[in-house]
Amino acid sequence: MNDSFLLDGEDIPFTPGQTVMQAAAAAGKYIPHLCWHPDFAAHGSCKLCTVKIGGRFATSCTVRAAAGQEVENRTDELDAKRRTLLQLLFVEGNHFCPSCEKSGDCALQATAYEMGMLTPHFDHFYPDRPVDASHPDVLLEFNRCILCELCVRASREVDGKNVFALAGRGTRSHLVVNSDSGRLADTDFTASDRAAAVCPVGVILKKRLGFTVPIGARTYDLNPISAMGANAGQQADSRANAAHEKEVG
């Protein structure tokens, strides 16, 4: 039997052990996602990558690819569910794109564009989440956190520092900083950490870089996130890093 499965009717090859998401990304196919990143183990929490395999819902970042699977991805039904998930994320936080320096490089925003989200639809929570500007090089803007834990994973697995964690349960879940004061300045976090470059939204922001690349010339201004293939969600990382290196030298 061939090692391939059908994604929206298209043959996708895979190597044993790959997830549906990994195989699709390797083939340059876009499955919407926020908490998945190719450099990290699957998290399976954002549910944006939910597909239908043989008629059953499954998160494509956690399901192993298997020969002969029939996977539905960009169907109206699934995109409508993704749109609802995005709307829930938008009303839970304070996502004011016009005043966010990540606008145009933000995977949440770009994914919402891709899903044709025109309104957050639900009633807004407008939570009170003070920012942490204590660190000399990095600002933490908690209002925009979507709890993907990419910074938690990057700090733990790559940087070996455990700077971030999620605390609380349910709607009270929130990102915390691992220091006695709870302030980023009182950790050994630096702007060159992997965790400083992995945030898909505008929470972890390197200072003094905000508008180095003007609005209109940013990652997802130029191409929709679906056109990024395997690199969806990471282009903005590398662009921010390049700008940082240019600035800081």
């Binding site: 304070n94 016009p98 145009g104 309104t119």
Partner: protein
Amino acid sequence: MAHEYLNDTTSPSAAATPRKLKVATVSLAGCFGCHMSFLDIDERLLPLLELVEFDRSPLTDIKHCGPCDIGLIEGGVCNAENVHVLREFRANCKVLIALGACAVNGGLPAQRNHLALADILQMVYRTGHGLAEGSSIPDDPELPLPLNQVHPVHEVVKIDYFLPGCPPSGDAIWAFLTQLIEGKAPSLGHGLLHYD
């Protein structure tokens, strides 16, 4: 969901010359930036005026909204007057559109929502820097009472369509309106759909 009744041709007079659509516009808790962007459709205003006429709008200075086909709402709802005006638009407009970021999610004014209104008024009029001696919170009965929080318009009345952007570009507004007037459900692709 296309509003085909916008192009109702069943009435006898409509068959000869289609009736112009009535459009009303207003800025609630907004900055008029969306109206400025509306003017950015530039010379396309002329063909648009072949198809529509304006009822209440800053462009006409008519004070109350009469029966209309399309209502464009800029800005969120921050005070009691905004609620009355929004309800008047909903009662009179067949199709009501939230135009721009503030109408869609509260926008910049909604960034006060995590603060207590009383604290804000105290800070701005009583304890802030650079205030005149004896400065006090304005209480003229003609001033509309501020709401505790700023709300997107869809939290107050039913909204038929949303056109986000701060502001939505002239091109986005033009694409949106022309599709709607043609009786199609408006859709914006990459490049026209923006939240910023």
